[in-house]
Subunit: 584 residues, 2 copies
């Protein structure tokens, strides 16, 4: 063992103890006759001292040679520090070094190993192993470990069994793109990496393992948007003999447990909202309810006047921004510019200032009088001092635009507090979603989701209206989990796949094994999957998942540290019986 | 919720309680006026009763319609059973059913869902979801979960951090074959699936995470021998600032904890044996020490006579089989045939019967007298009543042959007890291993293993003699874990790669990131990896890992249940910029 104590362990009670420490040189201060070295490891920093009076000449020389990030082992005596440092746990003491071994030297690191580093994102990713030495990244990894352990403990105590499902499975073109793996032993054939263990967990239910969980890597070959990773981690869960209520109850329990154990936050039972209501009130199926600013629909109180923009709009909808009545003209113009940015895409914005004296001032005073505006304010729940912002147009687009504005203003106003946690369930999702480009319906959740009881008949006549036994768990404006009660009947599954455009042959080829399994006594079942990367980052009060992944990939799916993906040897290609299609 | 109790929950104390149960029909007995149904779920079996006197006609009819593996929900009252069944936990009671809902019917399963099934391996694999309903398979999965949880708890309590390393990494031709994954976004380039997270865990050590573990899938595209899987699970661990002794101590602790918690077996400190000694005493680097039968080398006590077979042999070595002196001539002939089978490959076998009266009878009485034979018996540790079996020839081959015989005889004699656990450390492995075909040396453990202190100089002159800081943990004749202290110095790593036949360019391309990392303050570090599949099966007292994997692949790497690997769509190939090499 290279050490008797960690660099975070020594206290005043250790004074006069002989100790051996090992770690990295965080920094050293050389006053000529005296040298202080901050020695760092995972657990903290301990100050080492060398001085002319008590340290040999050789040792002083050696100490002077130490550079940043050198790995050293020291032996010495714990002494009381003259000027104590209250900011660190070991600040009462220092170690008077009697022996120093340089275990490894270090080139000057390409960025400083400090909480606030001078290294940019690219450099930090290339030297991720140095980045991990920094407290913020290290603490995130420790935090992730803590969250994972709590999840496992909780679910295991609830009778859930961690079952490992295979990584080399079969490609199913439905959904996102698969990563595929050529098989050498079965030439011309490919495995696929799982987008989720969905079918396997359903087979486990059919196999009688009635409570399953797994913390598991999943893979999606998507064009990466910011903060998406080609490989990501899912907390995958499934239960048999349950209804939706049972699943919600169980995983509300898990989430409440995590909030309590990890964050010390006690949350009562989670509110529930239907998908339709979420869209109506927040324009968003993952509303952040840490703050209000709910939508007020104004169609019926705007139509009576001659304002064409509103009269021709499918939806006229507004929110009230607390205190916004004091915005200057310039500030409001900026807001209008903001909603008109291509990323948001509104054509314009109507506003109403709600003055403290009860009067209103709007950008449409030409068309609407004080009575109108007062009615709007009431519908939106605006108070004196607020600024009402109103958008109009096609329902889906306007909702998305106003939701973006709502989130932006909440951010600016400090309503999105990292230490406040407001979970809610969004339920009754539509079963199908219209793909506006192709005009086809596809599964909103996935093809195994069951429709609500009694809604199967609607599937032919009004497919867009069929509601599913599907639910999302939303935390602070992020979907952290989603699931459904599954189909467990072969005929219904076949009908569903047909509606999703699968031919009988395709359905059989891709999901035949599951539909066959349904014929041998499949129990009712359902489940949920959480995105661990996202969950951990939100619990950690941060926004980017990358900061909670030890070795993330960049937006091109590259690991810039190991320089992967990379070309492979021709022999490898030959063995796999594939070649690069470079001619086309 | 479909049930108030599980099928394993009801006891005499529940009598007169109204309950709702759900599960599978294990079997039903129809006496006409009375029907009993065994209802099964994960937790047990509960007997349901329907009878003419107390059950409605309709319900009787419905109960008669139930087939094996139907999924049903029943409501009823717990009553005392007339003839109690002491063999099951619920055997004191039965449920008099008042309501029966058929949740799903079932075709007749292709094999019986019983502990001893009539289904062959292939059928069971195709319908693995039905196989999992059987107690032995289900119990194995539960057992695996329990072992995983204990490992996580123990390591986490010891300060180890579970860090997820990437699955999409870079191909390194060294070692076994990689599975590769074509990248769509980086055309012509490939990821590889990890054979182990080796380099990443070393980078974590360099990153200051000084205690890491992960239970992680690993992948090897090998031609599958029996009981190998292309994807397998590793308990991967690494520590920084440690020497070999620290690693052994830590993971001896883990193993002792598992034996105690899981099996209730207390084991004192584990014996240690060097690789050389293991080969000398057991002919095997993973000796089963639940029994003796150690090797005795006889070269120096056989050379003085005129027996050419022994005199020309590099090694003459024997073992004593307890009680074997009573074997008939026919039995001994069969043994000789056994060692001459191609799978073992011995040319012949010399034997000596050690009679109870102290005399000896051997197959080489022509050459050796009683004094000789007595000396042999002493060297081998044979007692009166034993049969000495002696093989001779090339050292490595003979050791392997005699080891096979030793294991076979121990098996036959019942010495390999499933409930007895004899762990040991094998240490001081050679650093390099000669590939007899190519004449090249390759790394016995892997290229990152450090040589023993002071042995670096031997690398040029006598590479085969260099010992490594490498160790295996062996349990009951199986290697359950292996590891080493790693190189943490760029120059030594470069030298090692050179010795292994890497050009400077190859070394840089494949491991440049690691060697660069060594230049920024790499601490001394080392670790170990356990094969979880194997560990679980041995702790479970069984031999085949497949029985402890939910969805295993067959010997051709196929999942016969989902029929994978499979062909993929041409569009997929095109997007990935590869084509099948079908012309050659």
């Amino acid at each position: 063992m290279y050490r008797t104590h960690s660099c975070g362990a020594l206290r005043a009670s250790h004074i006069n103890t002989e100790v051996t420490l090992a770690g990295w040189v965080q920094k050293s201060r050389d006053k000529g006759f005296m040298i202080w070295v901050d020695l760092r490891d995972r657990y903290g920093i301990t100050q080492l001292i060398f001085d002319e009076e008590r340290t040999s000449v050789d040792l002083m020389e050696k100490a002077k040679s130490l550079g940043r990030e050198f790995v050293i082992q020291v032996h010495g005596v714990v002494i009381e520090r003259e000027s104590k440092n209250e900011n660190i746990k070991t600040g009462a003491v220092e170690v008077l070094v009697t022996e120093l071994i340089i275990l490894n030297d270090s080139k000057t690191p390409p960025f400083t190993i400090e909480d606030d580093t001078d290294g940019g994102e690219d450099l930090r990713m290339k030297y991720r192993y140095l980045d991990i030495r920094r407290n913020p990244v290290k603490e995130n990894l420790l935090f992730r470990h803590q969250v994972s352990m709590e999840i496992r403990k909780y679910l295991s105590n609830e009778g859930f069994i961690d079952v490992e499902t295979p990584y080399l499975i079969k490609s199913t073109p439905e959904g996102a793109r698969d990563f595929v793996v050529p098989s050498r032993m079965n030439q011309g054939q490919f495995y696929a990496l799982p987008q989720s263990p969905q079918t396997f967990k359903q087979l486990l239910m059919i196999g009688g393992i009635d409570k399953y969980f797994q913390i598991v890597k999943c893979f999606r070959d998507e064009d990466l948007r910011a903060d998406r990773q080609p490989e990501f981690t899912q907390i995958d869960c499934e239960m048999a003999f349950v209804e939706q209520e049972d699943v919600l109850h169980t995983f509300e329990g898990l989430t409440r447990h995590l909030l309590k154990e990890i964050k010390g936050v006690e949350v009562d039972s989670f509110p529930r909202i239907t998908y339709d209501e979420a869209m109506r009130l927040y324009g968003n199926d993952k509303p952040d309810i840490r703050f209000g600013m709910t939508f007020g629909e104004l169609n019926d109180v705007t139509k009576h006047k001659d304002f064409k923009v509103f009269n021709s709009a499918e939806l006229v909808v507004g929110i009230a921004i607390p205190g916004g009545a004091s915005f200057t003209r310039k500030e409001i113009d900026k807001l209008v510019d903001w909603v008109r940015r291509p990323q948001v895409g509104a054509l314009g914005m109507v506003y109403v200032k709600c003055h403290e004296d009860g009067s209103y001032k709007s950008s449409v005073d030409k068309f609407y009088d004080q009575v109108d505006l007062e009615r709007w304010a009431k519908k939106i729940g605006a108070n004196a001092g607020d600024l009402i912002c109103i958008l109009s147009g096609e329902t889906n687009k306007v909702r998305a635009q106003l939701s973006a504005l709502r989130m932006e203003m909440a951010e600016r106003l400090g309503f999105r507090k990292a230490d406040e946690f407001a979970p809610l369930w969004v339920v009754d999702f539509p079963l199908l979603e219209l793909d506006e480009e192709t005009g086809n319906y596809h599964a909103m959740h996935h093809p195994f989701t069951s429709p609500k009881p009694g809604q199967l008949e609607l599937l032919n006549s009004r497919p867009g209206e069929v509601k599913a036994n599907a639910y999302d768990l939303v935390l602070n404006g992020n979907e952290i989990g989603g699931g459904s009660i599954r189909i467990h009947n072969k005929q219904i599954q076949a009908m569903m796949l047909k509606h999703l455009g699968f031919s009988d042959e395709e359905a059989k080829e891709q999901f035949g094994f599951l539909m066959d399994a349904f014929e041998f006594g499949a129990p009712p079942h359902g489940g949920i999957a959480f995105g661990l990367d996202r969950l951990v980052s939100i619990l950690g009060g941060q926004e980017t998942i990358r900061d909670f992944i030890a070795f993330p990939k960049n937006n091109s799916g590259r690991d810039v540290m190991i320089d992967s993906p990379a070309t492979i040897a021709n022999d490898q290609l030959k063995e796999l019986n594939i070649k690069l299609d470079t001619q086309e």
